[in-house]
Amino acid sequence: MKTLSKIYNILIFLFLYAPIVVMIIFSFNDSKSRTVWKGFTTKWYAELFGDQAILDALLLSFIIAILAAIISTVIGAAAAIGLKSMNVKLRNFMMSLNNIPMVNPEIVTGVSLMLLFVVVYRTTGLLQPGFGTVLLSHITFCVPYVILSIMPKLRQMNPYIYEAAQDLGCPPARAFMKVVVPEIMPGIITGMMMAFTLSLDDFIISYFTSGSSAQTLPVVIYSMTRKRVSPKINALSTILFLIVLFLLVIINFRQIRDSAKEREKEQVKG
């Protein structure tokens, strides 16, 4: 039974990783062919870094992701704190509002925003599809995730420490910065990181809201896959994969180390 489940897990992981491994191998293939190995080369990487369209798109994606992460974190953190002190009815209403972009199929969110921008542009001449519309859309789908990662931290927080700070003569705004913000910081950071990656990776919503002037990297990748050509795309995938692998391994090791420390502490206590 044990070995059987091991073999099964290996097969599933093989299924998940086979395409990625093939892609990495063929990013070094000295031929345009995607099936025949013709020898080792790094020319696709050189071509990738010489491709101005891809580099521009990458830069644009990063700028939008950073701005979307910062703005959605500010809106989301304020909202989470505000929601906490609201009456239940209003809060439930706001939370269901918060759920809409997460539950709705992305394509519907995409086309609804596109229609909004089209209507606004036709009537007022504002919000021409481009950088602004993509950024507004990204903030819209990031805010809900920020709120959901901060809410649990607020719930865990002891409300009396904020009041205690005020009782001890700290003005409310300062007490807020000194007491509440540090308490919910882990939630804020998780939310911001989530917003950043969601924005960086988004294709569907950007596709409908970007127009031709602000094509993010996924949108450019999509137009590349439609033409089915250059192995540059394999090189790009390999680089992105290695970056993600590196980041996740670091995060994972930190978690393992932290949980080992926790266990040590508990043993000392026990």
């Binding site: 897990n9 299924f15 002190s85 086309v111 089915r228 994972n252």
Partner: protein, 274 residues
Amino acid sequence: MAKKKNSWLAAPFGVWMAFFTLIPLGVVVYFALTDSAGAFTFDNLLGIGQHAGTLLRSIWLGAIATVLCLILGYPVAYSISRAKGVSQQTMVMLIMLPQWMNFLLRTYAWMTLLENNGLINKFLGLIGIGPLSMINTSGAVVLGMVYNFLPFMILPLYSVMTKIDKHTIEAAQDLGANGLNVFRRVILPLSVPGIITGITMVFVPAVSTFVISKLLGGGKDMLIGDLIEMLFAGTAVNYNVGSALSLVLMILIVVCMAVMNKFDDGEETGALIA
């Protein structure tokens, strides 16, 4: 309480959501119920009938992919939830890792594997089978869906399963339940919330996809997502019909989720009583 003062902090969020979530959905409804001149009409919604085949095919392929994800993912989630410390964390990381790579690139990788002279057919040729035509079939589309969304099934299942109290399982064993009965009477009922979350997390993106069907299905058998994409950004722009289709897709998914949630409540209380 002094806390009440803080509720104004949610105001920017409320305004933002009104502008960029509620009003856009209102605009979709408006376009769905008007013709190109702006006059009120039901024609767009009534015209959906001619796309019934596309709609049904999307639901059918999405449902197959969801069931496959559940069948394939359940044992993996279970064995991860039973693994110890470091190996558990590593396995979760390995499940998440491909997810962090752009899904267009992952789907593109399958395109090169499934081609008529692709690697799988090359391999099959070596052992004397094929070539099979795999790309541009419904099967390839389902495969793409399963591949892209399998982690969405495994992760919620895993997180529910790790919360199952070990003592409950031990109690069942002490009371004489064999492996199958422990699974059927304890583990399965307690993992229902994870199954529900997993199903919605796979079904919603699967049923509304347009990228997977374009890349792996060759655009022959259109899905509802392809149709919507075509009507908004493609060759046959018609915002009114496109909005009607989007509205139908949205309602369809809300109905599915409502049914699933009913099922969830019933099962949970049922499990408690039994």
